[in-house]
């Protein structure tokens, strides 16, 4: 069983939701930098599976949807798609979470075979106008 590790690289508590789980995982903020001390990056592991996308598991077959929420750093959430090449089968992967960016690597530090896209709101469809039927002011 291989693993996708998500490291929190910001000094803020975050949640990581992999493939639309109802209860995302919480990761504490990274440690403070200090002279002659290593910086500690908290992480959460998710299993990598060779089948289709599942909640809380990273798929080698399908696109994976990742939602990162920040406790205080930003008011919105970052949403990413991750697509993995089948050649990564048998390898554990390492993802580094920043504000507005996500970096993926294999154990050697290479990003080959890991495609990451970020989602932005591109369209809105009004479902309910909030305006009265008589056209009066809402």
């Amino acid at each position: 069983m291989t693993t996708a590790f998500f490291f929190n690289c910001v000094a803020d508590t975050i949640s990581v939701n992999l493939n639309l789980g109802l209860s995302p995982e919480i990761i504490n903020g990274r440690g403070e930098a200090a002279e002659n001390q290593p910086m500690v990056l908290p992480m959460i592991p998710f299993p990598i599976i060779a089948t289709g996308a599942e909640q809380g598991k990273m798929s080698l077959l399908d696109k994976n949807l990742i939602i990162i929420s920040f406790e205080t750093l930003q008011t919105s959430a970052d949403t990413y798609e991750i697509q993995l090449d089948k050649e990564l089968d048998g390898k554990s992967l390492y993802f580094y979470v920043f504000e507005n960016t996500l970096v993926g690597q294999d154990a050697r530090g290479m990003g080959d075979g890991i495609s990451i896209s970020i989602h932005k709101v591109s369209q809105r469809r009004v479902l309910q106008t909030g305006i009265a039927d008589d056209g009066g002011p809402a």
Binding site: T13, I14, S15, N17, L20, G21, L22, S23, P24, I26, Q55, L65, I67, S69, F70, E71, T75, S76, A77, T79, Y80, E81, T101, L102, V103, G104, G111, I114, S115, I116, S117, I118, H119, K120, V121, S122, Q123, R124, R125, V126, L127, Q128, T129, G130, I131, A132, A138
Partner: protein, 131 residues
């Protein structure tokens, strides 16, 4: 303190997240309707509801009377939707609000059942390559 309630009208568990809190509130699936004590053909259904405080300004896990509140609904094994909800009528301040979550739609009302002053938009996203 007024509150906003989200009732799960879907036959699956869902989570409701207001303004990108770290975690949403998980609601049980809508149960099968059952006959009430009046008997006959009158049935009732009890919807699980999530409640959030309403304040003057939106915040994580808190609904705001000003600005566009982002409501993210995740359906267990059934996808997700992001909605933008704006209160456009100042007279709704101080009132409890009620939202009914369906598959790919959301309906909002005040305590009397009127939707006036509650604007809802469904927000769609597209992906841009980073790596």
């Amino acid at each position: 303190m007024s509150r906003v309630f989200f009732g799960n009208s879907i036959l699956s568990s869902i989570s409701v997240n207001v303004n990108f809190a770290l975690q949403g509130t998980v609601l049980d699936a809508r149960p099968t309707p059952t006959a009430n004590t009046q008997g006959g053909n009158v049935y009732s259904v009890s919807l699980s509801m999530a409640a959030f405080d309403i304040g003057p300004n939106l915040d994580k896990g808190k609904f705001g009377n000003s600005g566009e509140n982002k409501v993210q609904v995740i359906v267990d094994d059934g996808g997700a939707n992001l909605y933008g909800v704006t209160i456009t009528d100042a007279s709704l301040k101080g009132q409890d609000l009620f939202f009914y979550v369906f598959d790919n739609t959301l309906v909002g009302q005040n305590n009397f059942g009127t939707a006036q002053g509650i604007k809802i938009a469904q927000l769609n996203t597209s992906a841009t390559a980073l790596q």
